[in-house]
């Protein structure tokens, strides 16, 4: 049995009929680390809220652990762990009190499932008498993860857990998720950061409420149809302008200090270099690069 099955899920908001989620289908295997990758406003949180029984879908069905999100919401609330994107623990309670509270709400205790949170909680232990509201951003996220884990959920939903967290803490956070996976917990995580996608077993690229592609990060990258080049020159602005104007360019966009571009009917990089030289650009540097998830995402967007 799959951990999460989503079939043709749709959600429309308000009078303007804003389509937040449109005909979304995907499934998550047991013990999988599944990522929903998409920019802000793509519909990630709406999907999470429907899966955690907080929001009623307008159309379609979804099951978590085999329980329907509409009919069997009671069972789902007993078994899933949810960490909302916005910090939503009691800020006026201490770290320990928050954890204790959520443990007792689920009818368990910290001791019972301590092994699950041990690695994370050790870092929090020295602040255990501090109010949750007074923790740093990264620490808050760790505490929220602990609280979502304390009842040993079968499926863990993490809505943008690393947004607003520094790069080091983000990396640590993903390490923790990988460890949790070994405990057999299914994890569904959403993030707007493309570089985190490669940490997931499988990802769904989502935009405007629609899923554009679902596969392993490797397959998504491998499916990139044309060679991708990283280009650099003395004048970035002119470079982008000229790449855009070149008739053989398929896509071109800025990517860090380089511009990424792909060309049609081009055997090697000599041809575009020649064109750029003629356009008055100097110090041209060009090499073929492996596409990242971000490249794939941009390609899907441009289609």
């Amino acid at each position: 049995m799959k951990a999460v099955v989503v079939t043709n899920l749709s959600k429309v908001y308000g009078k303007e009929k804003t389509r937040a989620v449109h005909d979304v289908s995907f499934s998550v295997e047991k013990g999988e680390l599944f990522g929903l990758i998409g920019p802000d406003g793509a519909g990630k949180t709406s999907i999470f809220r429907m899966l955690t029984t907080l929001l009623l879908p307008d159309n379609g069905t979804a099951t978590v652990d085999g329980f329907d999100v509409v009919k069997d919401y009671r069972q789902i609330r007993n078994t899933v762990g949810y960490m909302p994107g916005k910090f939503s623990l009691y800020q006026d309670l201490t770290v320990e009190e928050n954890l204790n509270f959520f443990a007792s709400v689920f009818g368990t205790s910290i001791q019972e499932n301590y092994h699950l949170i041990k690695d994370i909680y050790i870092q929090l232990e020295k602040f255990k008498d501090r109010r949750a509201g007074k923790l740093s951003g990264g620490m808050k996220q760790k505490l929220a993860l602990c609280c979502a884990l304390i009842h040993k959920p079968t499926v863990l939903f993490l809505d943008e857990p690393t947004t607003g967290v520094d790069p080091v803490s983000r990396k640590e956070f993903w390490e923790m998720l990988k460890r949790l996976k070994t405990e057999g917990i299914t994890i569904v995580v959403s993030t707007p950061y493309m570089d985190e996608a490669s940490m997931c077993d499988r990802i769904a690229l989502i935009q405007m409420g629609k899923i554009m592609s679902i596969d392993t990060p490797e397959n998504i990258v491998a499916a990139y149809p044309v060679p991708l080049y990283a280009v650099k020159a003395d004048n970035m602005f002119l470079l982008l302008k000229n790449l855009g104007a070149y008739e053989k360019t398929i896509y071109s966009y800025a990517y860090g200090e380089y511009a990424h571009a792909s060309f049609r009917n081009v055997s090697d990089e000599a041809e575009p270099v020649k064109f750029l030289n003629e356009s008055g650009l100097r110090e041209i540097e060009i090499y073929q690069t492996t596409p990242t998830i971000e490249d794939c995402f941009i390609k899907l967007l441009k289609n």
Binding site: K86, L93, E97, V105
Partner: protein
């Protein structure tokens, strides 16, 4: 049961950590009960009077000193003409003008009658009304004095007359404080109970904690009870503080049974808290909740019979006040504290308040949805 215990533990921790709320629970009843009954007093003193005496006789002098000696009036002007005195009213230096005509003494003795003129500044209705009637009764007393002096009483009065003697029950000195303190206490219990419960759930919504709670197996009625019980206890604490203050400062000791009083307060608090919870289930932010509560509280208090008697309200207002839980509390407070009413006397109030409590709380529990 276990869940409720954890919820209560959490609520109390949060309340005791919120210094401002804690201070308000203790300070608000103390300060308001100490200050309001002393200040909010219908007995009017220091009425500014301007007198125009055209007679300047010993009788008119006598009348003026009777007026100023009464303690209610302050002579702020002694003018030569009505026009000058009116000027004082225009400048807000006088509330009343008494004009004593020329020949006051002579006409009074010779003709046995004399007319006087009182002009009242009616901008402040209560002050004008009471000032006017105080002055009239002082003049009447003065008149009786003159009558006795001029025509010594015969053994049997020629004119049959009815003498009225009244005695005031339950508040025999007609003390305004004795009347107001129980009402203000009722008002305080309502304010604290209603606002605290109302703002609490909305706060969870605003901060986002409700999102986390909704994904847990906590049942709706557990959650509502977890919110209700702490504020029910706090409401009782406020009420007890209030009773102690009215005993220590005003010497008001409930004539009736304390158990009856607490029994009614217990049911009443449930209905007020239920109302607060209901409002909070409709609101998304504390600001919205605050405004809605203010709206209802104003209506409840002004139509509750605290300041004005419900019996003298127009019929539609009397119907509204039947749906107003505050009016039942104020009347029960006065009945039990001042009159010593027993449980039997307040049964109708108790039943209606209980119905309010059941309806409001059920409505709140139904309206609180974990799913949107």
């Amino acid at each position: 049961m276990r869940t409720i215990r954890f919820l209560l533990q959490k609520e109390f921790r949060q309340i005791f950590r919120n210094k401002i709320i804690l201070a308000m629970i203790i300070v608000m009843p103390s300060v308001q009960l100490m200050i309001l009954p002393l200040a909010a007093d219908y007995e009017i003193k220091n009425i500014n009077i301007a007198i125009v005496d055209h007679d300047r006789s010993s009788y008119s002098q006598n009348l003026i000193s009777t007026i100023t000696a009464s303690g209610y009036f302050k002579l702020t002007g002694f003018e030569n003409s009505f026009k000058e005195a009116l000027h004082l009213i225009e400048q807000d230096q006088a509330d009343l003008i008494l004009e004593i005509p020329q020949g006051f003494e002579r006409n009074l003795i010779r003709e046995g009658e004399q007319k006087m003129f009182i002009a009242v500044n009616a901008i402040n209705g209560v002050k004008a009304n009471l000032g006017g009637s105080y002055l009239t009764s002082i003049i009447k007393n003065y008149n009786n004095g003159i009558r006795l002096e001029l025509s010594p009483a015969t053994r049997f009065s020629r004119n049959p007359s009815i003498e009225i003697l009244s005695s005031n029950w339950f508040n025999n000195l007609l003390s305004y404080r004795v009347f107001m303190v129980p009402g203000i206490l009722a008002f305080l219990v309502t304010m604290i109970g209603g606002f605290l419960s109302c703002l609490n759930i909305v706060k969870e919504k605003e901060v986002g904690t409700i999102e986390q709670i909704n994904v847990t197996p906590i049942k709706k009625h557990h959650f509502i009870l977890g919110k209700l019980i702490p504020f029910w206890i706090l409401g009782n604490v406020v009420f007890t503080i209030g009773l102690l203050i009215s005993w220590l400062i005003y010497g008001i000791v409930p004539v009736g049974n304390l158990a009856v009083l607490y029994g009614f307060i217990g049911v009443y608090l449930l209905s007020v808290l239920g109302f607060g919870l209901l409002v909070s289930t409709f609101c998304e932010t504390q600001q919205q909740a605050m405004f809605i509560m203010f709206f209802f509280m104003m209506v409840f208090i002004l139509l509750g019979g605290l300041f004005t008697s419900i019996d003298s309200m127009p019929e539609w207002a009397q119907i509204i006040s039947k749906l107003n839980p505050v009016s039942y509390l104020i009347s029960v407070m006065r009945m039990v504290i001042l009159k010593g009413s027993s449980l039997n006397d307040i049964v109708p109030h108790l039943i209606i308040t209980f119905v309010f409590a059941v309806v409001l709380n059920t409505w709140a529990a139904l309206n609180y949805k974990k799913t949107t």
